[in-house]
């Protein structure tokens, strides 16, 4: 029971990352709650995706990329690996930038000075801290983000107006239809970031899940992720209540904090900033590990935190290189928020490459025996394949037409 509660709590606390924080606040400030449906679609999608990949890992005892290469062959899988790895690296860069931006909110010292320190802290935790402690601490402290829900209620919103926003497209009057759809794809990409699935399935192997753990894994996903999605909606709601009426469009993490300060003052603000640090730091750990997992699993290298670093040297070296690339990118002065916005859109672009192989393996009795997808799940999963394809095809044209949502 304790394990189940802990799993659900960490799933809620670990659900949000810099992509969710920024994209939901941007959307709330520009479109109110009229894109809330995109969050709901994304959360259902990630539940299906994570549930399938967790089951594949628990039953087969093998992680995502090992199976993708085996099932699709190395030539097709290398394309898959290249796209997933690059998007994961972009997300890692955004998360390290997110940690630095959150620390700047506490110290008012430029985020650029915090970038190398944040990356070193990520490396130290991966090097020294046990997998379960790392996962649980980041997830539990990330629960401070429930403060957004508290702030939303404290703001005493006009429920009728929010209901109206939820069922019809609203904007500040200058937003184009293409921008609305661009952000729909961005929200979908933010909710269905591929690294979450790599981490979830590889974590299952790290923690030695078996068929007996399937029920807990399902509960973590089906209860934890939707509650995380509620927090996403609360972020958008806070921005819709405070920022949209004043025509303030969110472009910086510091603006995301304005509704929180207005609703709950310094205490709530402090709690939320702590939650943002934990959520982005936790996501930075997950993306760094995911970078190592994808490459190591594909090439058959020794991988995992359950092995001493000396016995998985290439896995650890690769993660160090990825962190150095993230630091170097951020130190060029590129805006971490821009990196975040682009990374969530490219997540949507690459999603079919990881979703389809998992769907195929989840239907293969050779790997899963009696635990293959049922008819209902397959129906929903196929419907999502269509949504994912549409989002993937539309993402780049929308990015170009709207100038990345300008």
């Amino acid at each position: 029971m304790f394990g189940l509660a802990l799993g659900i709590l960490t799933a809620i606390g670990g659900f949000l990352d810099i992509g969710d924080l920024v994209t939901n606040a941007v959307v709330g400030s520009r479109f109110g709650l009229s894109l809330g449906w995109a969050v709901v679609v994304g959360v259902i999608g990630i539940c299906i995706f994570a549930q399938m990949s967790g089951r594949v890992a628990a039953v087969s005892g093998r992680a995502t990329f090992e199976l993708i290469r085996e099932r699709l062959g190395p030539r097709v899988a290398i394309l898959n690996l290249g796209a997933s790895f690059l998007i994961n690296l972009m997300t890692l860069t955004a998360e390290v930038g997110g940690v630095a931006l959150a620390v700047q909110l506490i110290t008012s010292v430029s985020y650029l000075l915090w970038v190398p320190l944040a990356a070193v802290a990520v490396w130290l935790v991966i090097w020294r801290v046990k997998f379960t402690i790392m996962e649980n601490v980041a997830g539990l402290v990330g629960l401070c983000l429930i403060g957004f829900l508290v702030a939303f209620f404290l703001l005493n919103p006009d429920w009728g107006e929010l209901g109206r926003q939820a069922v019809q497209r609203v904007s500040t009057g200058t937003e184009k239809v293409s921008t609305y759809w661009f952000y729909a794809v961005a929200l979908f990409g933010a909710a269905m970031t591929p690294y979450e699935v790599f981490f979830f399935s590889s974590g299952a192997v790290e923690e030695g899940w078996t068929v007996k753990d399937l029920a807990q894994s399902r509960a973590n996903v089906i209860v934890g992720f939707p509650l995380g999605g509620v927090l996403s909606l609360a972020i958008a709601g806070c921005a819709a209540v405070v920022l949209l009426p004043q025509l303030i469009a969110v472009t910086a993490l510091s603006q995301v904090m304005l509704p929180v300060a207005q609703a709950g003052g310094k205490i709530l603000l402090g709690l939320i900033i702590l939650g943002v640090v934990a959520a982005t730091f936790g996501a930075a750990l997950e993306t760094t590990l995911s970078a190592g997992y994808t490459i190591a699993q594909f090439f058959g290298w020794s991988w995992g935190k359950f092995r001493p670093p000396a016995r998985a040297a290439r896995f650890h070296l690769l993660m160090i290189i990825c962190l150095i690339v993230a630091i170097a990118t951020l130190l060029t002065g590129v805006d971490p928020i821009t990196v975040t916005e682009i990374s969530v859109v490219f997540s949507a672009v690459a999603l079919p490459l990881t979703y389809l192989p998992i769907l195929i393996v989840a239907n293969d009795p050779e790997y899963l025996g009696e635990h293959v997808n049922g008819r209902l799940l397959n129906g929903v999963a196929l419907f999502y394949m269509v949504i994912i394809l549409v989002a993937s095809i539309a993402a780049i044209p929308l990015l170009i037409i709207t100038g990345a949502g300008q």
Binding site: Q104, T174, I248, A249, Q255, A261, K266, L269, Q406
Partner: protein, 144 residues
């Protein structure tokens, strides 16, 4: 002869259309820069107000003012590449540039004041720049 006339007519129409759409695009760019500036000034005013009410921390307010100073400076820079092909557009751009510049100066001086003394004595400059930006914004939107 008829073909020549048609070609000249078509070319002139295309030029006229291109000229109009270029002017509309320039006006859109000015409106975009003003909207960004409005957002930055309104955020700064709200942040200062929350800080004065003891609802926000000094570090969070300083960070926001720094971010907004950057945003408004970007909006100012975005005016440079706009192509000017009419006296009306030139006058609009000058007015927009002045308003945004006033906003940038006010945000920066508020941030400096907060960093120096831990308080922002007056937000009159920010409010005045905000009104200037808002009135130009509604003027340009109605002329579009």
């Amino acid at each position: 002869m008829r073909i020549l006339r048609c070609t000249v007519g078509l070319t002139l129409s295309v030029c006229l259309f291109a000229g109009c759409s270029q002017q509309a695009a320039a006006t859109d760019d000015l409106i975009h820069a003003l909207s960004e500036s409005h957002s930055a000034i309104a955020s700064s005013l709200l942040a200062i107000q929350l800080y004065e009410q003891q609802r926000s921390t000094r570090a969070a307010t300083e960070t926001l003012l720094g971010d907004m100073a950057g945003q408004i400076a970007d909006a100012e820079r975005a005016l440079e590449p706009i192509t000017i092909d009419s006296p009306q557009l030139q006058s609009d751009r000058n007015a927009v540039s002045d308003a945004i510049h006033a906003g940038a100066t006010s945000v920066l001086s508020s941030r400096d004041e907060l960093e120096r003394s831990g308080a922002v004595d007056s937000t009159a400059g920010l409010e005045s720049a905000g009104s200037q930006v808002d009135s130009l914004l509604s003027e340009l939107r109605s002329s579009r």
